[in-house]
Amino acid sequence: MRYLKLIGAFFKISSQAELAYRVNFFIRLLHSGLNLLTGVLSLVVIFNQVEVIKGWDMPAALALLGVYLLLGALRGLFIGPSLESVAGMDGEIWTGTYDFTLLRPVDQQFLISVRHWRIFALVDLAMALGLLIYALVTLGTQLTIGMLLSFTLTLLAGVILLYAALLAFSALVFWNPSFLFTWVINDLFQLARYPVGLYPGWLRLVLTWVIPVGLMTTIPAQALVGTLSPLMLLLTLAFTLAAFLGATWLFRQGLKRYTSASS
């Protein structure tokens, strides 16, 4: 309850700072629009040439794009800005103001994960949800409770996987402030725009079990389309749990290192 209240306070204060620059809202709108437009146009162009690629047709690919944009919006809403403010360029570790954060009587991981919000990312969130609903309508499949449930679960797993990946790479900054590897995750995340099955075998394996950007979007989309096997669902959930615990452990190790070696 107290932590929810704190999130509310952080959200309020971040929004206040951002709303001061009204022009940014229109810029954001332009970027979000471009993002959605290029995403949809890409599918139009591709499926204009071929009807089905390796089992994925246009509506299924649209649903996956919706999941991709949804995850991207959530990352932009708070995960990205919060972690960037600690581990990014000019972040707190870089400038030394992380000392203050470390002195706050609140759980560190919680604090650094939810501190900064970008209210304009709600525009992306709305667009992504709209696209997802449109895709569901064109898909025309009968959605069962089970499908919806597994979709919700896997979507949640996707968000946690993305968070865990960003947290793990942020934690590396404790070892060397010039590791800006969160960028690499941002770059690799673009691969999640399309079903992981479209990539060559070696890359598919890497994107599923090593850098799990494939799991983040393909699995929820499969849950919606109804092609997700129960085994894969369980594996995804287990993998997500492991990734979350692993990233948390790495972050704690980083903290320990920071407090024993910083000067």
Partner: protein, 332 residues
């Protein structure tokens, strides 16, 4: 006699610094087999501080002041030794401990630069779980004593350095910590602002019995605020006691300032009769002599007898000069 609020025993911090040769090859090699060198920052420091004391931690750059402060606030693990602050071990960073301490740094900002300080304060009050009415009360008090009504609604980035420092202090004090660590709080401020902050800290300390440990480069901060100083040099605590005693021990000299009513021809020869007396460069037309404490009565008597003295004053040397001397020589 109350229990000491800070007890430090044999505190030592050694940094392990990786040694890396430039170039890609060398950095790959150092990844596999890193080389370290040990740099001692603080060596075997012990002291205690009573509740409500203001202690000045002084020493030249790199002496270990900030490292000590960071260990006491829980930002750093010591290599060995122990510290108990308010009954807690700082580096365990228990929330209950963190709520009782505060760290204010002159060169780093704890505030969000994009928003007015008032909003930052409110979030801090929630992080520190200050009850709303108590928050309003302490905030009103701080704002009134620091005279900062006008600053509260401007974004922090638009404030001057002095105004920002006031805000940093409020941010550090609004949850009424028992212990305040101040690291160079007056860094870069103009003289008038330095004086105001000193007055504020002194009043706040008296009204709230907060224990303060302060580091500063400005001796004026220390002389104005700290009856007790700890001098750190090369990581060791080489003096702990009253500031005046330190000055007397360090400077067994007094300064004698002289003004004559008529020109004096052979003043240099006159001074030369005491080998221990040294003539310093003139200031504003005044002659200045550095005289060993024991010789002061005899020297002044002779001066008054033999020369047309219009005015004569005997002073202690300025504390800055004394401290500079220790920093340079490194011994007591």
């Amino acid at each position: 006699m109350p229990e000491p609020i800070i007890q430090v025993k044999h505190l030592t911090k050694v940094y392990r610094v990786p040694e890396r040769a430039p170039g890609l090859g060398a950095s790959v090699r150092s990844l596999l087999k890193p080389h370290y060198s040990d740099i001692p920052a603080v060596t075997d420091i012990s002291f205690t501080v009573e509740p409500g004391e203001i202690v000045g931690l002084i020493g030249p750059n790199g002496a270990g002041k900030t490292t000590t402060l960071k260990m006491l606030s829980g930002l750093l693990y010591p290599t060995s030794g122990d510290a108990q602050v308010a009954g807690y071990t700082p580096w365990q960073r228990q929330p209950d401990y963190l709520r009782r301490i505060s760290m204010v740094m002159g060169n780093r900002s704890a505030l969000n630069w994009d928003i007015p300080p008032l909003d930052s304060f409110r979030v801090l009050s929630q992080i520190y779980r200050v009850p709303p009415d108590q928050y309003r009360q302490i905030l009103d008090e701080l704002i009134a004593t620091l005279d900062m009504d006008a600053l509260l609604k401007k974004p922090v980035r638009n404030l001057s350095l002095g105004e920002r420092m006031k805000c940093e202090l409020v941010a550090g004090l609004l949850y009424q910590p028992d212990i305040l660590f101040l690291d160079e709080p007056t860094l870069g401020l103009d003289v008038a602002m330095q004086r105001r902050l000193r007055t504020f800290l002194k009043t706040f300390n008296q009204q709230h019995t907060v224990t303060v440990i302060l580091t500063s480069h400005y001796m004026a901060d220390v002389t104005a605020l700290c009856p007790r100083v700890m001098l750190i040099h090369h990581g060791s605590l080489i003096y702990d006691g009253a500031l005046q005693t330190l000055a007397a021990r360090l400077a067994p000299f007094k300064l004698v300032r002289l003004q004559f009513s008529a020109p004096v021809e052979n003043f240099d020869d006159f001074v030369a009769q005491w080998p221990a007396v040294e003539q310093l460069p003139m200031e504003n037309g005044l002659r200045i002599l550095r005289v060993p404490r024991a010789d002061v009565p005899q020297v002044t008597a002779r001066l008054l007898e033999s020369l047309p003295v219009a005015d004569l004053a005997v002073e202690d040397p300025p504390i800055e000069a004394v401290i500079d001397q220790i920093y340079a020589e490194g011994v007591l």
